[in-house]
């Protein structure tokens, strides 16, 4: 008995017919469970409140952020050497447009907060904002 395609090399056995047909109904789903779980954050709450006593007479001079030489607290010296290095976001897309007019995010602070901030303009300039990948290289020479 003859049949169509007899004289061609079209596969006649199923295993050969599947040779160039990946099993596309096997849809990969890995990573969906991780999506449900990310980013999970666990923390310990600490609810005690402090500095609520109206009679508290302790005062601080805030004009100098770090008082030099009058401390036995080793962290402070450490801090002076350890400039704060802030995290640069990995995913936030910063506008690259030239004509983008940034809003002033400092607006809305209380008068006191503004005054204290203006006393410390040097902090604004000294901010270093670095990506994680960059800091790793820096810290591990």
């Amino acid at each position: 008995m003859s049949y169509p395609g007899e004289d061609t090399n079209i596969p006649r056995r199923m295993v050969e017919a599947l040779e160039d047909h990946p099993l596309s109904y096997l849809v990969p789903k890995d990573g969906l469970a991780a999506l449900v779980n990310a980013p999970m954050q666990t923390s310990l709450p600490f609810d005690k409140s402090v500095f609520t006593n109206a009679d508290d007479s302790r005062e601080i001079d805030v004009s100098h952020l770090i008082a030099a030489n009058n401390t036995t607290f080793s962290i402070q010296n450490d801090l002076e050497q350890n400039k704060l290095v802030f995290k640069r976001p990995e995913n936030f897309i910063l506008s690259t447009k030239q004509d983008y007019a940034p809003s002033n995010l400092l607006e809305g602070l209380s008068p006191l907060a503004q005054t204290v901030l203006s006393d410390h303009q040097d902090l604004v300039v000294s901010n270093e904002i670095v990506k994680k990948s960059e800091i790793v290289n820096k810290l591990q020479p």
Partner: protein, 637 residues
Amino acid sequence: MENSGHRLSISQVYQLAHEYRDHAYSVASKISSEEELKQYYTLINMSIRMFQMLKGKCTLSVVEDSKITFEMVELLIHETHNFDLAELYISSLKERLQTHQNSMCVVEEVMHCEFLLVHDLPLMRDTKFHYKIALRNCNELVQYMTSLKDEVYQNWALVFQYVGVALCIKLKQHRRVKTSFAGLLSQCGDKSQWKWFLNLCYVNYLLNERFPIPEAAIEELRSTELDTVGPRLYAWKLALNMVIQVYKDGNITEHLNEFKRFFDVNKQSLVNDEDKGCMISIAPGVTLKVDLPIIFHYKELKNILLLLQSVSYIVNCYDGKGNFSRKFLPKVHSTTQKLMKTIGTGGVSMNELDSRVQTYKSILDFCDFYKVWEEILLNGAVVEAAAASSSSSSSSNLGPSPAYTKLLQAMKVQFQGGGGVEEYTRLAQSGGTSSEVKMISLLNCYTVQAAKVSRCPGDKQAQLVEQCNKVWQQVERLLRETDLQFNPMWECTVMILWLFSHFEPFSWNPLPCSDKERAEYMSKLREFYSSNKFASGGGAVDERFKLKKALLLQVLVNYLGGRMLEHDLEEIRGISGKCFDMCRHQGGMDKVQYVVGIWHLMNCTVGMRGKDVALTNAKLEALVKQITSGEQSKAKK
């Protein structure tokens, strides 16, 4: 420097520290320029400096010192790279607390220090080195606290046992994760929020790793009560149930209904207080806060749910217009982009928002990947779709992981002419590949190699057969070790490929096998065939063997069953006719259709159905033309 000084009361300074921080958080979502980023960090910096000033210039009580240190350290950990500084602050506070006269008064403070040291800091540092140290310290801590035989410490020990598990997960010490979870769960009170929370973590972990979920954990999940765990954890439970179902390609209708009933009553509590997280009470005075925005926030949960639905429906996608996934995936895509734009209603750090954006991006990657997969099902080819790169992701990678991209590339090679063995083998052997992608690679690789055996003259087979057997051993091992064994689609596929490569009608050179193997796979075929037979009035359907309406798979099961199990000629012809017809509905099935068609032609001929013979002959003629012209155009390329 001659400044007369600006003296403020201690509570004013404390309030300023909060004001700077809270203000920064309230504007975090608006940041879109370098200038604004600088302003944000100016505020954070000011906040940290205020805390430092309180610590450096005042005599503080231990509680005050603790509170301030915790608040400042939180900023240091989340907003800066100064982890060493943060650690120094915590360690020195811990020293102060340990010299305190009455140690029982400051237990909570000490525990908080320990938690920051073995949990928060290592997680932020995120290196194997730090995880290892933290795990060692954490274990010692637990041992010490357990040895104290004091109930307060016993309770806190539970928290750190949990931290230990989290660290083991990070270190991928899977055996220890499992035994630790088991140990922890056995100490919990039955039907408690804490126990159910741990079980949710456990199940999610098993799903992430594609490990089989023990029956006890499933039972615990099932028994999780809304009234005890609260709506947020309950939403997590429902989501996990859904993932389990999607992973085993089961029917999700009942699970969707359950979600609907849940939302009817609890929607509002997921909409309100979005960023408050969930408080888990472990023991009197010991509480853990958990936040899982993608589940705890209503809009995000709905979005994820729609993504899971789409994925569940994809396999039916042989009708470009009628399939749900075609409607849902674009919707998930646009909703995700909207969520990205409206992210954060305030009160959340920019870095926290940043990590949420990361999650949104991987949702977009998933959408793109599954759109490509739809095209594969519709066209029988890997189409380098325009769908890709429509997401904001910077990489040209298709899909949420490099392994997915490589899988698509390998499939493309196979579609183009039966190759891909090398690509699949590399993928299956690579350490980073997930068990699922490995399995797909192995099965496709096996098909290609078994086809080669079928074509190969007898004297040259030995090496090819050897390769087939090697791949098959890996398939069997992987099936045993992973949750894929619970998915009937995988189980059935393994059975089909085995029969195709070991029996005469399906391969010119069937591989040798034992009677035992043969009996095993034949009995599986019987189960799958009787539950998925095309014929009308079929027998009882066993849900355990019921397959989704994946067209190729359905055709293959019926082809096998029709050829090996049926005896009635009429019945056989019915099946072969249906198979032949079905093949037309999915793209790229020409060759499968041809093989099925020849079988159908034979059945019609034997049954002396002249009209059907003529019709089938004509259809086959057309098919042959189509295939040969397709081959020619492929060859030209």
